[in-house]
Amino acid sequence: MAFYLTTILFFPILGAVMLAGIPGRNRAAIRQATLAIAVIHFLIALPLWWLYAPGGADYQFVEHVPWIDSLGVEYHLGVDGVSVLLTLLTVLLTPLAVLGSWRYIDHHVKEFHILLLVLTTGMLGVFFALDLFVFYVFWELMLVPMYFLIGVWGGEQRVYAAVKFFLYTFLGGVLMLVGILALYFHHQGVTGVYTTSLADLMAIPVPGELQLALFLAFAIAFAIKVPMFPFHTWLPDAHVQAPAAGSVILAAVLLKMGTYGFYRFAMPLFPEAARQALPWIAGLAVVGVIYGAMVALVQPNVKKLVAYSSVSHLGFVMLGLFALNVTGVQGSVIQMINHGISTGALFFICGMLYERRHTYEIAQFGGLSTVMPVFAVLFMIVTLSSIGLPGLNGFVGEFLILVGMFQNHPWMTGIATAGVILAAYYMLRMFQSVMFGDVEIEANRKLPDLSGREVAVLLPLVALIVWIGVYPAPFLSRTEPSVDRFVERVTRTAGTQPAEVAELDADEAEPPEAVPAGLEGRP
């Protein structure tokens, strides 16, 4: 198990290389091969679910290999509960994305699948990285394949959307890079050691003003990715233009990198600044919740509507992170997964609509329940999940976020809670326009219902929607210790820092008790 994470991380690249050997003309073979690779990848990563020991070390499956000695950069990977869940989400969505693109992608099939696999590696790297340099490398790396996915296989405005996506994210990224460097030299100034290791950087106190500035540098990068209001305008364009699989990955995983960034880097590294900025960020999150819901309401385009709904949903996630208590953060984490599942499914659904009618205009549909009953059922469940119906996954996350946040910031939460009304409004309105009523447009009269392949795409997601909604305990329990530590770290006051750090070190030095044999703790 020494290089378990590395195996997971680079397996898709290996797959991509193999794929490169298949002649581009043989599309079926490429699709099948990619599917096989993605499924194997999923199976390789799946044991994480069991092998990860929630009560064990902070980070597990840790890998530590010197990389750039002179800069103090190490190839340092590890996962905690949150990254385990996000990893599994990622590896689950990749095969589904392949399946979902089976017919959607009809040109340059080989290149598409290669990029999809490379993208997977990029995303996983972000979730595994315990070194800021490594993190940044993967953060930017995944930009490239996504850029191509949008730009080459997207809709009419694809180039504009792709470039906008790239520039927005890149802008945030480079500012963060300056922040990383400032922190790096600050650490060197304090300890005399050059390092980009997250744990080491977390161990030193950062003076107030510097901390705030650095936090902002990180926060802007992540806020763009989340995306938080008002940094969100790249999202609708990117989503509308991206091919179905691209939208799915974008919504389900890429956006999580923003919130994950807050969780893993921005907030633990700069806890005091995070607390100082809390009213602003939480305020923006609340605005995002309401604003996203409002703008979603008036969209004439299904995909754009779902895109704006993401702005709203991720506002909830941000709110939960800044609840700064375990309940809220747990909700936030579970909501990251939920959003990935539900919105991922919604974008698959958009893709299925598009495959049939080559349009996303809501007005072009109507009455589809009659002609596509199976589709109607699945679409309905996903819609309900998205509006947070209790018993489905969305509710668990939203409720925990709100109940957690409410304990600290009742007014903001009160406003954000109104989001649940608005969500019902725009989602049901869209659902009704697409699915209910009589079939009025001739082209819709003979639409085929979902094929077996399409059902296979949606079914796992729907199963998860119900599972998390009904029995979220396995998910919550896996993240609870990690979230505990996060909350403890972020809420700790400055005065107690040295002692706490020492304690932390002591903890790390002890062999983790609950880790099964053969798993490494932190060295």
């Binding site: 490398v137 470039v163 520039l167 890149f170 480079v174 500012l175 890079l177 300056v178 030299f185």
Partner: protein, 509 residues
């Protein structure tokens, strides 16, 4: 034994170690002359198509290649022997230090790649003169001299050897207006700047009483600086600024880059810039070390202007060579930031970036070169590059890699280089400069992406480019690709090497 021979041997034993630092330059010169000579005697040429016409030189290109490779080997030898290498050489006119050796390697790598790319280019565009190779080697020799110079005179000589060669190379396709126009502009402005450079040298000489870099440092280390010295420094900044194309001394470069034959442009963008910066950095980091407070503000302003103007102007270019010219102006701005950092970290960053920059720029021009067709270089991004990704997938992928590297996206050499420069800037407290650097990089992303967009996301509306990649060019491109990725993914030893090379530069004799 014949006493004369013995005498010669003794002389050789004395001379040999003294020649050691200039060995690569000597090898280049030798082979350059050889290439010219064999051609003069019409050796190694194919028969011309008609009686009395010249054929294609066969031997000259390979002589040039071999010479460059040998020179590179000599640099390797130098690197290996660096620690035991004594000095001073040529009374201090030449220094042999890690800094110089590293950059010699970079220059020669650039030259080698240029040559590899040139051979196919010349064949395609019917350039059948061996002088071409001769000039490249001589210019490269000039560059090496600049890189190792320990004296302002040496710098000047190297500079001129390089410049004159490149003037001619720029106008080499003399039947084409643009080539000649480029040469004219380069020449007039180059000579003009030489005037300033010389006058600056004179003033510094007047203030310090010597041309020797170490001597000048000793002389000027006592403040306050006299106005004569400051004026001299100012004019040296102008002179170097011209060679490396800093705004506002950059205006020649877009026109010249666009007009010159593509391999020459590549050579200029890499070799000339490297050599210019090498001397620039050496003079300012060591010789004018004590005057840092005086020159940093000026360079600061120039860096800001260079990064902004270079990047901003690039976004509206359609000609890829012109776009790359502006891009190289912008990169000069980044490199200047490393100099402004005024620290070992900064210098190491400079070295690393120079290597990375050479590889990625060379790669980008390499693609430009191989995509040319007989009679046209196919340089329009919008028209010629549209949709080539699906016709030439490997070339396009490589081009995309170079573009992303120039943008600074990991895992490429460009990213690590930018990381290094940013580190240096932040470490020295030039955070605003660092922020400006990254913001202008975002602008740069726009025009680099434009190339990618055109290649991958636009449909071609012209008849397809028929282009075969000559084997030599393929090797060059492969080297560039491997280099860009290698320096990006495993930058460790290169960073290490750059760091180690810096130690020596401060220990200037």
């Amino acid at each position: 034994m014949n006493p004369e021979i013995q005498e010669l041997l003794v002389a050789y034993r004395v001379v040999r170690p003294a020649l050691f630092p200039v060995l690569p330059a000597a090898v280049l010169t030798l082979f350059g002359l050889l290439a010219l000579l064999v051609d003069v005697f019409e050796l190694g040429r194919t028969r011309g198509p008609a009686e009395g016409e010249t054929g294609t030189p066969i031997m000259a290109p390979y002589l040039a290649l071999i010479g460059t490779a040998l020179a590179l080997g000599c640099v390797g030898w130098q690197a290996a022997r660096l620690e035991t290498a004594g000095g001073p050489y040529f009374s201090g006119m030449v220094v042999l230090d890690g800094f110089g050796v590293f950059l010699s390697g970079v220059v020669l790598a650039g030259t080698l790649l240029t040559l590899l790319l040139t051979i196919g280019y010349c064949r395609r565009h019917d350039i059948h003169l061996a002088e071409y190779y001769h000039l490249i080697l001589m210019a490269a020799a000039g560059m090496l001299i600049m890189v190792l110079a320990g004296n302002l005179i040496t710098i000047f000589v190297g500079l001129e050897l390089m410049s004159v060669g490149v003037y001619v190379l720029t106008g080499f396709r003399r039947t084409r207006l643009r080539s000649v126009e480029g040469a004219l502009k380069y020449f007039v402005l180059g000579a003009f700047s030489t005037g300033f450079f010389l006058y600056g040298m004179a003033l510094v000489y007047g203030a310090a009483g010597t041309f020797d870099l170490a001597g000048i440092r000793d002389a000027v280390s006592v403040p306050p600086a006299s106005p004569v010295l400051l004026a001299g420094v100012a004019l040296l900044i102008v002179g170097f600024g011209f060679k490396v194309a800093l705004v506002p001394f950059h205006m020649w470069s877009p026109d010249v880059y666009q007009g010159a034959p593509a391999p020459v442009t590549a050579f200029m963008a890499t070799g000339v810039k490297t050599a210019g910066f090498a001397a620039f950095v050496r003079v300012f980091m060591s010789t004018f070390d004590g005057l840092a407070d005086q020159w940093i503000p000026v360079l600061w302003a120039l860096a800001v202007l260079t990064m902004v103007v270079g990047n901003v102007a690039a976004i509206r270019q359609d000609d890829i060579k012109r776009m790359l010219a502006y891009s190289s102006i912008a990169h000069a701005g980044y490199l200047l930031v490393a100099l402004i950092a005024h620290s070992d970290i900064g210098t190491a960053a400079f070295l690393y970036y120079m290597a990375a920059y050479t590889l990625m720029t060379m790669g980008a021009f390499g693609i430009v070169i191989v995509l040319g067709e007989k009679g046209t270089e196919n340089t329009s991004i919008e028209r010629d590059y549209a949709g080539i990704a699906w016709r030439h997938p490997l070339l396009a992928a490589a081009m995309a890699l170079f573009m992303f590297s120039l943008t600074g996206i990991p895992p490429t050499a460009g990213f690590v280089g930018k990381f290094a420069i940013l580190s240096a800037a932040v470490n020295s407290g030039h955070v605003p400069l660092a922020v400006l650097l990254v913001l202008t990089s975002v602008i740069s992303a726009y025009y680099y992406l434009k190339v990618v967009v055109s290649m991958y996301m636009r449909a071609s509306e012209r008849e397809p480019i028929r282009s075969q990649v000559p084997a030599m060019a393929a090797i060059a491109l492969l080297i560039a690709v491997v280099g860009v990725l290698g320096l990006g993914i495993f930058p460790g030893q290169w960073v290490e090497m750059a760091r180690a090379s810096v130690v020596a530069v401060t220990g200037l004799p």
